[in-house]
Every structure is written in C-alpha cells, then in structure tokens.
Symmetry: D2
Subunit: 431 residues, 4 copies
C-alpha cells in the first residue's frame, strides 16, 4: 500500500508549500478553505460550507468587521468564487467533507486544523521555506504551528478514501476546522452535530515534542481545559492634579483584578492555572485612567476545575469593577476542554501501524501540556459511545512552535498519512 504514499508524495510537498505561502488567521481562512474545498470536490467528497459546517453563534474570538471585510476582498482578488465567499462571509470559514461508501461499517472522523498565527516569518536563509522559496507571502502571518502540514495530511487522507473507496466500508467525515489557535473554532463545528454518531475520531499534531521521524504516539495526555477572556474596564477620566476625586480609575480596577486573579485558591481536585498575559491602561500621565484592557487565561485539569477558575475569575473581575466604580465587559475568546484519549485505541493503532513502512515506533502515550480544542470533538464522540484519540507525529524541532523560525521535516507528512491509512485499513478489514 506504500505505493499510494509514493504516488502522492510529491503532491504532499506541493500542497504543504502552497498552504505555507498563504497563511490566514482564524476565521479568515477564505483562500485556504476554498483551495481545500475545490480539491475535495474534485475527489468526489460532499462539501459542507459556512453555516452548514459551523454553528454561527458558537464561534469565539471572531475578528472585527473591518478585518473580515479586508480579507474577503483579498480572497476575491485571489480568485475565490463569489458563491463560496458568500457562504463563508463574516468568518464562517473551514469546511466539512463527507463520504459514504454505502456499505455498512464504522463512521470514522478525522480533524485537521487550518489556521495560521500572527507571527512574521523569519527570512533567515537557514530557514527552509526561505531557502526553498515558499515563505509566507503575508507580513505578520505565518504557519508556525504546522497546520499547513495538517491540512496536507487531510488532503492525503481524502485522496486515499476517494481512490480506494471500493474496498472501504462505512462513512468518513473530514473536519477542516478553522481557528484552532486560542480554542475558537472546534466548539462551533461540534455544536453542528458532526460528531454525534462518530465511532472513531482521530486527530493529532506534527511535532509538539521533538521526536525522530517515524515515531508516532497513539495517545496523548496532559491537555488542560481552558478559557480565554478579554476584559475591558471603562471608567471616567479626570485631571489627576485638579480633580482626582472625579475620576473613576480603570487602571486600578485592572491592577486589583490582576493581583487577585493569581490569588484564586488552588483546587484539591486538580491542576489549575491563571494568567493575565497583557494589560494596557490609561492615556496620559496626568489623567486618571478611564480605560483598561486585560487578556486572561484560566486552565484546569478538568472541565469542572476550569469552570471553578472561570467562576472565580468572573466574580473577581466584577468586584474589581465595583470597587473602583467602573463598568466592565468580559468577552470569551476561546475555550477548550480537557481530553482523555480512549485507551482501547492504543493496541488498535499499534497493531495497524505494524504493516507501515513509514512508522518506526508507536509510543502508547505522550505527555503534553497546553490546551487543544479538538477536546470538544473528542468529548462529544466519547459521550455518544465512540472512541477518540489525539496523536503526535514525530519530527525534529529546531525551534519551538509559534517561533518565527518554526519548521518541521516534510517527510513527517508521509508518516502521518500512512498512519491514518493503516488505521482506516485496519478498521475496515478487522472489525
């Protein structure tokens, strides 16, 4: 079956490099979605776009209208068809591609995230995309987390399904999810019901840990549930020398919030985290500050523990506003859940990969940290009785994710694709 990989290997590289050149931020992946969609359409998949794919109101952290408009115009200029743009307009990006073999069998879902990061890519000539000429064409936007690779693997999986459909059973759902960064898009796809009757769910990440090419982790553990909030405080400015008593000090409300957020009590049920990553307040030295802005993140080992952190944070923010007699607004801009990979998939994946020429070693579990919104999809699958996992695909990492010099070894694409193919084959043949 490695013949298939061989036959598609060059195309994988081409796709990946194309995606790398056109990075788009979350909920603005208009060009990306269009290119994916056209390819999948060509393969014969049924394409679900816009409000069909995503719950409009369950999205978080949607860009402002001006940015959306600008990117839609750009997409139009780049050749995205008007009918496609119409469906995606207003940040309804990403798509779901489905395939029904018509034969009884499992419903298997794969998820690939497609958004890029607000990072300016290095021009350093040691950086492969610079040396080989496929650097990001957009300032301050870069695929610095490997999602260009993830999409590529997704197209590879789709090609395999389309070309081998006669020997496959059951149904396949490929979720090309927007806005993974910040935990903003998965909930909206999940709410649409795509995962409700899925038997097996597979997602995963290139890298995370620096591992040799060919190493694959069947499951991961350690992702925390998390909430991301933006908070604004609005008070009243006043001349600090002339009328200090007339001001309503938003900066102090923000300062008190910050100090007291970190003091949220530890929780005996599990790990907690809290951070105020950014604060901007005030306008001038001699003016009582009337505005303040905070970027906050809570995490918890479980949804319940994170809910506790979020409830405490919310109360503290409100009380800080009351303390300084200012108004406040909390905007949720991201959310993830904890995830527990289905242990029963470990032997299944391990066995399936034995016949792979690309997978050298299957680790049963890899320790990670941080947060992932694939958790929403996994939890939905598991709640309905399905099995789900989040895997790692080893690559050497010279620079960490989210770094201007981030890159991965392109042969990981073949490893990941063959892993998924072997899982599909294993599933179709053995169960």
């Amino acid at each position: 079956m490695s013949d298939f990989i061989k036959s598609i290997e060059a195309e994988l590289i081409t796709w990946r490099r194309l995606f790398h050149q056109y990075p788009e931020l979350g909920f603005m992946e208009y060009i990306t979605t269009y290119r994916l969609g056209k390819e999948l359409e060509k393969l014969g998949f049924t394409i679900h776009l816009g409000e069909e794919a995503l719950d409009h109101d369950a999205r978080l952290g949607i860009p402002n209208e001006a940015d959306l408009n600008e990117h839609e115009l750009l997409a139009k200029a780049e050749g995205v068809e008007a009918s496609w743009l119409a469906k995606m307009s207003g940040g309804l990006t990403g798509l779901v591609a489905t395939w029904d073999t018509g034969r009884p069998g499992d419903h298997v879902a794969f998820r690939f995230d497609i958004d890029a990061l607000p990072i300016t890519e290095t021009k350093d000539t040691n950086h492969i995309p610079a040396k080989e000429g496929f650097l990001s064409t957009t300032e301050q936007t870069m695929h610095a987390c490997g999602h260009d690779g993830h999409m590529t693997i997704g197209l590879g999986v789709a090609t395999f399904i389309a070309t081998h459909q006669s020997s496959l059973k059951g149904k396949f759902t490929l979720l090309f999810q927007p806005a993974e960064e910040g935990g903003r898009g998965a909930k909206a796809m999940t709410e649409k019901g795509w995962l409700d009757d899925v038997d097996y769910f597979y997602s995963g990440h290139i890298g995370i840990q620096s591992l040799p090419i060919g190493t694959v982790a069947a499951t991961t553990e350690g992702f925390l549930a998390s909430s991301k909030l933006n908070v604004t405080f609005t008070g009243v400015s006043s001349h600090a020398g002339m009328h200090p008593e007339l001001g309503r000090n938003a900066l102090l409300a923000a300062a008190v919030t910050a100090t007291n957020l970190y003091a949220i009590p530890r929780h005996s049920d599990g790990i907690t985290r809290i951070n105020v990553g950014k604060m901007v307040a005030g306008s001038g030295r001699n003016i009582i500050p009337s505005d303040a802005y905070l970027e906050i993140e809570t995490r918890g080992e479980t949804r319940q523990v994170n809910d506790y952190m979020l409830a405490e944070a919310t109360r503290i923010i409100k009380a800080s506003a009351d303390m300084y007699d200012v108004s406040y607004e909390i905007t949720p801009v991201g959310i993830t859940e904890e995830m527990v990979c289905s242990e029963t998939l470990i032997p299944k994946i391990t066995k399936a990969c034995q016949s792979s020429d690309y997978v050298k070693e299957v680790l049963p579990i890899a320790k990670v940290s941080g947060s992932e919104d694939a958790s929403f999809m996994m939890n939905r699958v598991q709640q309905h009785g399905g099995k789900a996992t989040y895997m790692l695909f080893g690559t050497e990492l010279k620079y960490p994710h989210h770094h201007p010099s981030f890159d991965f070894q392109e042969n990981v694409l073949a490893v990941a694709l063959d892993t998924f193919i072997k899982i599909i084959e294993g599933g179709s043949q053995n169960e």
Copy 2:
C-alpha cells in the same frame, strides 16, 4: 464677681477628684449622670433624663448588653436610685439641665462631655492623682481626656446661674453629653431638638495644646468631619491543605479592603484622612480564615468631603466582600461633623474676659486637629441662626491626652468657669 469663684474653688476640686475616681465609659455613665443630676436638682434646675434627653436611635457605638447590665448593677450597688436607673437603662446616659429666668433674653447653651476612656491609669507617684489619692477606682477606665474637669466646670456654671438667677435674663440649657469619645453621643442629643432655638452655644476643652494657665482661645479651627466604622467579614473556613477551594477567605477580603481604602483618591475640596486602625482575622494557621474584623476611620475637611470618603469606603468594603465571596457588615460607631466657629464671638468673648481676674490672654483662634462631636450641636445652632464656638482653656500638659499619665493643672477649672461666667454676664448685660 471673683468672690463667686473663690467661694466655689474648693468645691470644684472636690467635684473634679470625685469624678476622676469614678470614670465611666461612653453610654455607661450611670453613676456620673446620677451625681450630676442630684447636684443640679438641688440647685433648682429642671432635669431631663433618658429618652427625654437623647434620641434613642441616633446613638452610635452602644456597648453590648452584657456590659450595660453589669454597669447598671454596679451603679445600683453604688447607690443610684432605681427610678433614675430605669430611665437611663440600656445606655441612655447623660442629661440636659434647663433654667428659664422668665425674663426675655437670649437662650444660651453650654455643653460638657462626661465620659472616660478605656485606659488604665498609671500608679506612678509623680502622677498627681496617685500622689494625692484620687486615682481611678476602676481598672482599664480613666478620665484621661479632662472630661472630669469639663463636668466640674459645668456644675460651676450651674451653681453660678442658680445663685445669680435674679440678675440674669433669658434661658440656659446645660448639656451634659455622654459618649463624646468616638463621636457617639452628640448627635443623639442634637436630634432631640435642644439646640434648635439656641442663640449662643459654648463648649470647649481643657488642654489640647499645652498653654499657660490663664490663656483662653475664643475659637478653634481644624476639627475634621469624621466617620468611625467597624466592619466584619464572614466567610467559610476550610482546611487549607485539603480543600483550599472550599474556603471563603475573610482575611483576604479584609486585606484587600485595607489596601484599597488607603488608595481612595484625594479630594480637591479639602483634606481627607483614612485609617484602618485594627485588623483581627482568622483562627488557625492551617484554616482558611472565615472571619475578619476591621476598625476604620474616615475624615474630611467638610461634611461633604467626609461623605465622599465614607461612600468610597462603603463601596470598597462591599466590593472586597464580593471579591472573596464573603458576607460583610458595616457598623457605624461614631460620627462628627466639621465645625466653623462663629467669628463674631471672638470680640464678644475677648471683651467679656477683660474683667476677669483669671483669664490672662484671649487668643482669637487656636489651630487644632482631630474630631469633635460638639460639631453636631454647633452646626444645628448655626443653621437656626445662632452663634457657636468651641474654646480652649490653657493648661500645661506633661503628657498628651489619652495617655495613662495624662493630667491637667486644676486651677484651669477656675479660669474656664470664670470665662463662662464673664460671657454670661456680658451677654446678659450688654446685648
């Protein structure tokens, strides 16, 4: 007229020393009120006691029931008549003594405060009360602010009025006010209406500044409006190691209150002050503290500025409670207003004192600080068109007020009494 002073001088000393031996805390001046009342009754004054003298609900910082009961029993044992005790029961101490000459003329009021302090008097033999044998008979209670002298002057004024009534005009009201310390009693007398038709109001203090005997200040300036609050926070205790998340931390609510109270903005309309003088919180090292207690004081150059401080403080206390999800209770335990002495009394007093053998020098104004609840009475008089002042009577002070070794020179009593007599005579004769 100095013959009168001479005739009463020994009695002044006797009275003062008797009062000094039986100090009583605010709203527990049962014995003191009784002794004053019996003396004034003997002189022919009409005596107003209990709810006749004080507005029951306008009192602040009333002692707890157990303390009141104990002191009422003590008063009974000391010989206070049951009918008097019945009227004073529950902390309705102090009295108002009135005299109407039946002749048209001004209504003149004098106010004397009668309460003592929770201080244990020194036994040092250099301390005159120790040397001369009239130390406080009660542990942890002492006339350390000169109110024993004030009452004595009051009895002197009463004696003068009674013995010279035939040559006087108008009406006289002598207010023997309880609970001056902490600003707890004056409002209750004022609310009863005693000051509503007063033309001239005189009060004052022995000492404050260390000045030579014979020096009198006709007016004072600098007393601030103030509010005194006790605050309790009540949360939920929890084992700090096992279940930190189950606690509701009253200590932190109190800590946040303290920090943020001091940060109340300065006010462009005048001086402000804030203090958290006491904090007691928590029970044990490994228990999330479920209770906290604070003693707070705000001050402002004017009532409005103090109202601002109080409103800010109240909001901060509430928000701190909300922040830590604990309940709170604010108990007002004292209040004073700012006072502005009537300038027109300066020449009046200066002139009246010219004929005194005891007053050596009249200062037009003395700078003071701190707070005085006579302010309620003065403001009421002035609001109704009357004139009011708060004077100082010079004495050397070896120790400051509220010190265990505080004492004053007893001949200040004659100076103060003669000042008030000359004012009475001046008023009756010249206007």
Copy 3:
C-alpha cells in the same frame, strides 16, 4: 502470641486514660516524658533524655520562657524528679529508649508522638472520657489527636520487647517524640542521628480516616512537605488624623503580604498550598498601626516544591516590609517533609499480619492529606538505605481530629500493638 495482648489489655486502657487526663502541649511534655521514662526504665530500656535525645537548636516553635517555667513548676509539683527535670528544662522533652538484644539482626525503630493540643475538651456526657471519668484535667489542653493512644501502643511495644527479648534479634529504638503538632519536634530527634543506621522504621496514626476496627493500612501517601512561619511587622504608630505621614503602617505591610502570598505562581512539578491563617494588627482606630502578626503555612508536593513556596513567601514578606518601610521578623515554627513509604514493606506487613487475631484487613495504601514530621525520620532512614512506612490503624471517628469531642475506640490499641508485634516477630523470624 495473642496471650500477650490479652495479658496487657487492661494496662493499655489504664495507660491511655492516664495520659488522656494529663495532656501537655509540645515541648512541655514534662510529666508525660517522666511517666513514660519511668515505665521504660522499669522494663530495662536504656533511656536517653534531654540533649541526648534532641538537638537543642533544631527544635522549632519553642514555647516562651514564662510558659516553660510555669509548666516545669507544675511538673515538679506533680512529682517529676529534679534530676529528670534538669535534663528536660527549657523544652527538651520526649525521650529515646533503646534495647540491644546482643544478637545480630536488624535495627528496627518505632516512633510515637506524645504531645497534646490547645483545645478545651467537651464535657458532654456522650463523650466517653466524660462518661467514664478520665477527662483532661487541664483547661485548653486536650489529647484530641490520639497521641495518648500512640504512647500507649509504644509502652505496649516496649513491654513486648522486654518480655520477649530472648527470642528477638537485632536492636530496637523507640522514639517518643515531642511536639508533633505543627511539625516542631521530629527534626530535632532526627538531627541527633538516631535514624542513621535504622533498617526498618515504623510509625503510624490511629484514625485519620474513619475505618472499621481491625483495618490497617500498610502505607500512606499524600502527606505534603510544609513550612510554618510566624511573621511580625514592626512600624511606627502615629495619629492618623494629625500626622498620617509619620506612621509606618505594619497593617498594610501584612495586608500586602497576605494578598501576594496567595498569588505565588502554581508550580508545574506538583501540588502547592499557601495559607495565611491568622492576622492581628493595630491597636486603635485612629492610630496608624505599628505592629502586625501573621501565621503562615506553605506546602508542596515535594521538598523542592515546598522550598520554592517558602523562598517565594520569604521574598514577598521582605518586600512587603520594604514597601511600607517597616521591619519584619520571620520565625520558622514548624517543618515537615514529604514522605514516600517504602513499597516493599506492603507485602512484608501484609504477610506478618496474617497470623494476627486482631488485624482483619491490611490495605496496601491509604490516601491522606496534611503534613507529618515523621517524614524527617523516614527520609533519613531511606537515605541511608533503610525502609520506612507510616501506617493507619482503623477506628470509627464520630468527630474529626482536633475537635473538642474527638475520641477513638480503645480496642484500636490492641490492633495497633499486635500489628507492630507481628512485624517484629516477622522481622526477627523471617529475615
């Protein structure tokens, strides 16, 4: 061998009730130590007292001199011999009793803690000590944690060793440790070297969890490393109305400390805890507070993590003092380490207990929380290659430990004693 337990059962009850009637706080166990010592002397043990038993300077949280003196006089009055008192004077309580069989074999150590708590025992007649007439004879002191039982078990073990010495091998060290509460005494015994060549160390606790009589846990997990600190801040008082700028506010230093201590960042290497359990600051409402006192506790899943918490706390306390220009003093009053029981003892204990008529079930491990200073001894034993465990002995608990109504079922004494006897026998016979 149950004949031995039967023969000593009445004596166990007598001992336990005597100890219960004479509770003594940490480092003031003069009478307790004397009674233990005389009993052990009688049995033929070598007794090590005072500086022989404890490192003088490694003790933490020593009572003040006045309390020590008072309790030494009391002990003298109660019949403690002068020569014993001389050795224990100044809080050098507790003792180490050693027995060498002269035959090659393991060195086995047992540790029993002997101090009581500052709690007033309930007089409720449902409380067995009340009903049966062995209530604490001392107000505000009570064996409310079961150490009266621990000592009793210790005397039982000693009696067994003395009466069965001819059939035993190796050496025995019985540590009767003072001041376990607050983690104050174990380090001082450990520093003296008693554990340095111990092969097996056993300690344990009656209760902790409410378990049926006869249930024994071979090991425990979950005790955190901890540090206990008292902190005083000393500033300068000043009249809050007159000269706020002259004060140096110790209350605010304490408030800032409290808020910021809770904000010490979580640690990725393990659980952390922080608590400010008590704050007392200030003297009067209108005085800038010149003094403040805090009781603080840090915890960490490992010694390293707790060291991190302690280092952070120390820096924050110092900076808070600097911020308010006050001086500070940190007094360490307790310390515990984390403990990891030797897993290899689980089968050993389980097997040994199979022959017991008293032990019904051996749980391999029990989850606990809180902190235990036996950890110092265990870690020392393990560092030198020995094995160590901390066990639980089941009893029904109607009230939690440290409660005025705390009590345990007295037949747990026989269970615990037989457990230790079986371990001794197993050790002597099988290895």
Copy 4:
C-alpha cells in the same frame, strides 16, 4: 505708546500663525529656535544657544536618538543653518537673548516657552486655524497650549526693547525655554545661572482660565511641585500553562506598584497628588508577562511634600520589583517646584497697567492648579533676593488647553505685550 502695539499688531499675527504651523515637541524645537534666533539677532540681541543656554545634564525626558536625528534632518531640510544645528544637536534647543542698555538699572527677565504637544489638530472648519489656513503641518503635533502665542509676545517684547533701547535702563534677559510640557526644560536653563542676578522676573500664560480679553492677573497661586517618572519592570517570560513557576511577572509588579502608590499616606503639611496615568504590560495571553511600563506623576503643595511623595513612590516601586523578583528602572522625565509669586509685584503691575489701552482689569491673584516649571526660575530669582511672578492673560476658551480644538483669541497677544511693555516702562521710569 499704544502706537508701538499698533505698528506691530499685524506682525504679531503673522508670527503666531507661522509658529502655529510648525509645532515642535520638547527638545526638538530646532526650526522654532532658529526662527526665533534669526529674528532676535536681526533686532540686535546677543543670542546664547545650545550648551551656552542650557545645562546639558539637567534636562529631563530627552527624546530618543532616532527621533532627535529625524527632526534634525527635517530642520536641515527646512533650511536651518548647519552652524545653528550643530549647537542644538542632541536636543539642546531653546535660546537665551540678552540686551544690556549700558545704563545702570534693574536686570529684568522674561520667560517664554516654545514647545508643542503630541496632539493631532482638528480639521473642523469652525476651528480658526482651519478656517484661516494656518493649521499644524505636522501630524500628531500641535500648539494646543498657546506657546505659539507666548513666543510671539516674546518677539514683541524684544522688538520693543530694541526699538526703545535709548529710553531704557538696566539689562534684559529673554528666556525662550524648550520643553515646558512635562516640566523638562526650565531646570536646565536655571542651572546655567541666567536667573542668578535677576531683579525682576516675569512669565505668564495665555488662558488657563476663560477670562475676558483685557483681563490680566498680576499673580497666580496653586501650582504644585511635581515629579514625573517613567518606570519599567523587566522580568522573565514563561509559558503560563507549562511553567508558571519559571516566570518573573512584571505585570504583577506594576499592578502592585499602582495599587500601593495611591495608598501613600496623606501629608499633614499640605496637598498631595499621585497618579499612574498609563500602564502597558505583557505580550500574550499565555505568557507570564516579562515587561511592564508605567507613567507616574507625584505632586505636593511644597517641594518638601513632593519630595516625600517621590521618596515613598521610589521605595514602593523598588519593593514591588523585589516582591516579584524583577528588575526595575526609574527614569525621571519631568520636575516642577511650587511657586509663590512676589506679592509686592501686585501693586507695581496694577499701577503700570493703568496707562494701558489694552488692559481693562488687573486681578491681584488668580487660582490655578497643575504644575509649571517656570517655578525653578522664579525660586532661583527669589532666593537671590529678586521678585518674580507668573501672570495670566485673559482670553475666551471654547475648548480647554491640550484639546485638539484648543484656540485663543489673537488680540490677547496685544494685551499681554502691552502689559509687559508697561511693566518695562514702569520699572525703568519709576524706580
């Protein structure tokens, strides 16, 4: 003498509008200084530039090198001679122009401030500079405080002196001071000794209060001593989820600084003010913030009181850095002193203005607030026995100072100029 005003009136308007079109920020007034200098040179004044005029190191809040370079290039392009630029290079802007009549008489100094503000001027056509076509030519820079008028008055005074020199006595020093905004330039001129032998010093402001044209205040009171500080905290960033304990949180150091700065105790010697006008901290939501920036201002009724505020603030900043284990840097960027106008100038000015056709009313004193660095010059003059005042020149103000629509009535220029001329004449003739 009004003939002189008439003769120069058109020129005043021309000058003012030119200056208005070319606003320059503090220490970057290269073009402004050059234009002033060329004009004054032409009139015959001796010009002192660069290090002759200013103490290099006493300047505060100097722009960064890049900005200085850019503006120097701009000035060159605008035609400023290289020899002038060389002297001013690096922010040594402003100049001192002197005139010695050669005749014995007073040394009279006038000070005019020349810098603009970082404000973008409104293009609203109701705004006279827009309607009449003399808007600022530079984005984000505007004469929104009237300094364009002040300089114009200065040129008027210079023209008067030059054209009337034969009838004048004594010496004249005109200080065209850079960087008044933020209190950055006056100290540097003062340190150079220009004021050391001045007998009379006059400065003043157009507007401040909205007063009718023709109204002049002879003196002002209420300017506070002040200090302006920028503070940066530098810590260590870390992933907030993975390694919170490795971060050194600069945002929290800044938050704690802010809260505690406002809590600096009030001072019994006079008014205090404190403000943190701006805070910017952190880089991303999930990163422990490693950097923070604060803009702070302290004020005090006297230099001593402001010194107290500054000392307290400095200690709090340092302690906050220590508390969060971050480094800090305090950059003083501005300073003013309190000023007390010489009362004896009130009658002098009042009398001088009686003969003016432009001055309608002389107010003896006007209440102001805020801060002014002319205070350094005035205090220096007064310390050496001279007299000094800071005046107001009435104009209607539709918008407050520092507002994008700020403007003044241009006929105030004639009023102010005639006031100074009358003072010069009065001084030369009458004393």
